[in-house]
Amino acid sequence: MAIQESNMNLNLKLNPTNAQLLAAPAVGVLGGVACLAVSTASLAGAVCAVALVGGGAAAGWVAVKARQSKDEALRLYFMGHRAFSADVAPVWSGQIEASRSQMEDAIAALSERFGGIVQKLGQMLSESGSGGGATSDAAAAALYADSQQQLQAVVASLRDAMQSKAQMLDKVQGLQIFVGELHEMADGVSRLAQQTNLLAINAAIEAAHAGESGRGFSQVAQEVRALSRASGETGRLIASKTGAIRTAIDEVRSVAEVTRSQEQQVVAVSETRIRDVLAQFQGLTGSLADSAAFLRDESAGIQAEVNDALVQLQFQDRVSQVLAHVRDNITRMPDVMQDHCDACERDGDLQPLEAAGLLKELEATYAMASERDIHKGPADGKAAAPAPQNEITFF
């Protein structure tokens, strides 16, 4: 405002009028005529009149020269103004446009890269996202349960086999009773054979006492003795075989006892190992699930951060618009300066250079409230209003 007021005071006439240029010669001529009249055409009066007219002419010549010099100075002045704005404005606007363009290209490239990151993270999250993660966790749990079931079935089969073997051994053990009975029966046969033999001996003795009449009875007694010996031999043979069977059964039993103990140990060790392996497997799947969940959470966090960065990059659009408005306004400056100089030359006045027209043109291009606030200047020390956030209007 102070500059405009001072410009108003500079509203000066560019050139003196012809009357002003003729004033000095006219005064000289009038003075000369007056001298001639007063001196009644004396020599002194004539000399004085010539001196006055000459002085007036000289003053007029000086005034004309001064005007020509001033015209030239003003011409150079206006030419300088036009050249100044014509030279400066393209450079200023060019620099602004180059910066705006570089920033736009850089931000667009940055946005594209961020966009690629967001897209890749999105794909990864959709593939192993909350739904996919639950499926993998469920699959791991199902695999664990299936493995546990199958391995426990193996152990159960081993236990069944051991049980069957134990039952078989019990039955084999039960045979020992029958073997014992057989042994006793063999002993009985041997005792009967022995008693029969004694009876046969007694019968032979009695037959001998009977003489000729007991001869046939004696032969019968001999046969009975032969049969009793054979029966005794058979009884001993049976006893021997049952003893062998008993020994064999005892050996089988003792061997079975040893292997049963070993098998129990093997089953116990297998169970322990299966339990350990399953526990490790469960731990592994659990830690994998935890890692996957952690990665999912981290990826979602990074995606949100990048999305937020993309939102923040919208500042480029706002800055670009402001720079474009200023650039366009600067490119208008040479024309404004030209018009101003033309007006001054046309009117013969040094007019103040008004910024209002150019500023009005600039104001007409504004799109943002912040631009208008800055244009108005700080009001009561208040800063320009921040850019509106999330403003939406439905029609």
């Binding site: 667009a108 939102v311 799109a367 956030q389 439905f394 029609f395």
Partner: protein, 122 residues
């Protein structure tokens, strides 16, 4: 089949941000650099919604919307104006041209998506 949305903005970064938000929500996206360019992109396309800037070179957003509404195939296509402009006068111009919503930049993608979901053609 995914619905198609036309994004019209002279700022590549804004097109990028809007595109990411819409693609992430399952929409297909086509882009126009300004109103004039966007009109050529519309030809032969089934577009379910348009998101357009206002201040653009060659053809501004308001003129673009007027042109779109004059095309029988897109007379009922909803338009969301996405702009730094927040003056009531400009909003009224947008409404008169046929826009259905006015979103001021900078915007949150979630908010724009909510507006899109509300207005997009079935």
């Amino acid at each position: 089949m995914a619905k198609t949305i036309l994004i019209v903005d002279d700022s590549a970064s804004v097109r990028q941000v809007v595109g990411i938000a819409l693609k992430g929500a399952g929409y297909d996206v086509i882009e126009g650099r300004d109103g004039q360019d966007a009109l050529t992109k519309l030809t032969g396309q089934k577009v379910h919604l348009i998101v357009s800037d206002v201040n653009m070179p060659n053809m501004d957003g308001i003129t673009f919307v007027k042109n779109v509404k004059a095309m029988p195939a897109y007379r009922f296509t909803p338009v969301i104006m996405l702009t730094t402009e927040s003056q009531e006068g400009k909003k009224r111009e947008g409404q008169a041209a046929g826009a259905k919503a006015w979103v001021v930049k900078p915007f949150q993608p979630a908010m724009l998506l909510a507006a899109v979901e509300k207005l997009v053609l079935p």
